[in-house]
Symmetry: C2
Subunit: 186 residues, 2 copies
């Protein structure tokens, strides 16, 4: 859970500027950050995200192996933090580009590029003394509709950004050790 | 171009530890960082990467739209920095997991997760006062073979890490402005 304490929009803009310095395939910068701070839109996101997540968690839509993987994390369909947190950023990837005349051009290594920008984004949030989490309400198509994004864009992830609530609980995650994630050839 | 100045392996280990704190789908941490510091292996990577890139740039394998996109960046098949730089890190994504008994399990949002870890990696390199770049020698399958990585792993990107050479040149990249990458719904 996040605290309702406000965060200035200039901080959010600088975080997005920082994320947008990420390297990208052929320097296409194939990303769009949608920044949401108003109560009504945050509420609309919460309602739509919880609707999808209820179908996942309570309606049995989540495949068994996915449900099993999430169980230790204690996640559920309650996304009330989306209404409490001062900012939500929805990151979209541009699967291809569209020229002013409407013709398309290819983007390269889109997921990789937007992923690196997302990593820059999370790091910048932390460097600003704030907290975030990665939320991928599945399926995410409602985000494309909600923000009238063009047909070349797909949601990558949703990031609530703010201060953690005083009483917030986080999962007690154990990380892989260095020798589990790093290999040195002999 | 990078400088040949050495960087201690403990710095590299801390950078990889940092990258590995990235969030990931169902906390699978589906990444492997291969750390290469020895001359012979760096040379083998350079030879294989340049062979692929020569087919791309000089042999006409690169599709015309890709060639056009890269032209302003001035990239070519010369990857001599791979032999000069003190460290190369090859990041692999684990498309699925393999249990000790050989059975498979599903990973979730693999590209997104590994992308965020790559973003953390690049940021950590910068915070350590070092330089890197993202290199995706296409196709990258030779990296899987070179390091005997298991069948569930695919190369995500290759990162040379070190100090920039005194005389190094970088492309004069212009970035999109804030209003080109950020949208605020009305």
């Amino acid at each position: 859970m996040f605290a309702p304490n406000p965060v200035s929009s200039s901080v959010m803009e600088n975080i997005i500027r920082t994320a947008s310095t990420a390297p990208s395939g052929a320097h296409r910068q194939p990303w769009t950050f949608v920044l949401i701070g108003d109560t009504e839109t945050k509420r609309a996101i919460r309602i739509a995200a919880e609707d999808e997540e209820r179908q996942n968690y309570d309606g049995g839509r989540l495949p068994p192996d996915w449900r099993e993987a999430l169980e230790p994390l204690g996640t559920d369909a309650d996304k009330s933090y989306l209404e409490v947190v001062p900012w939500i950023v929805v990151l979209f990837e541009q699967r291809y580009g569209i020229r002013p005349d409407g013709s398309r051009f290819k983007n390269f290594y889109v997921k990789e590029s937007v992923g690196i920008a997302a990593g820059f984004f999370v790091t910048a949030v932390h460097q600003a003394g704030l907290a975030t989490l990665t939320h991928t309400p599945s399926p995410m198509a409602f985000l494309t509709r909600l923000f009238y994004r063009p047909e070349n864009e797909r949601p990558f992830a949703l990031f609530p950004v703010g201060y953690p609530a005083d009483n917030c609980e986080v999962p007690d995650l154990r990380r892989k050790t260095l020798d589990q994630v790093m290999v040195q050839p002999e």
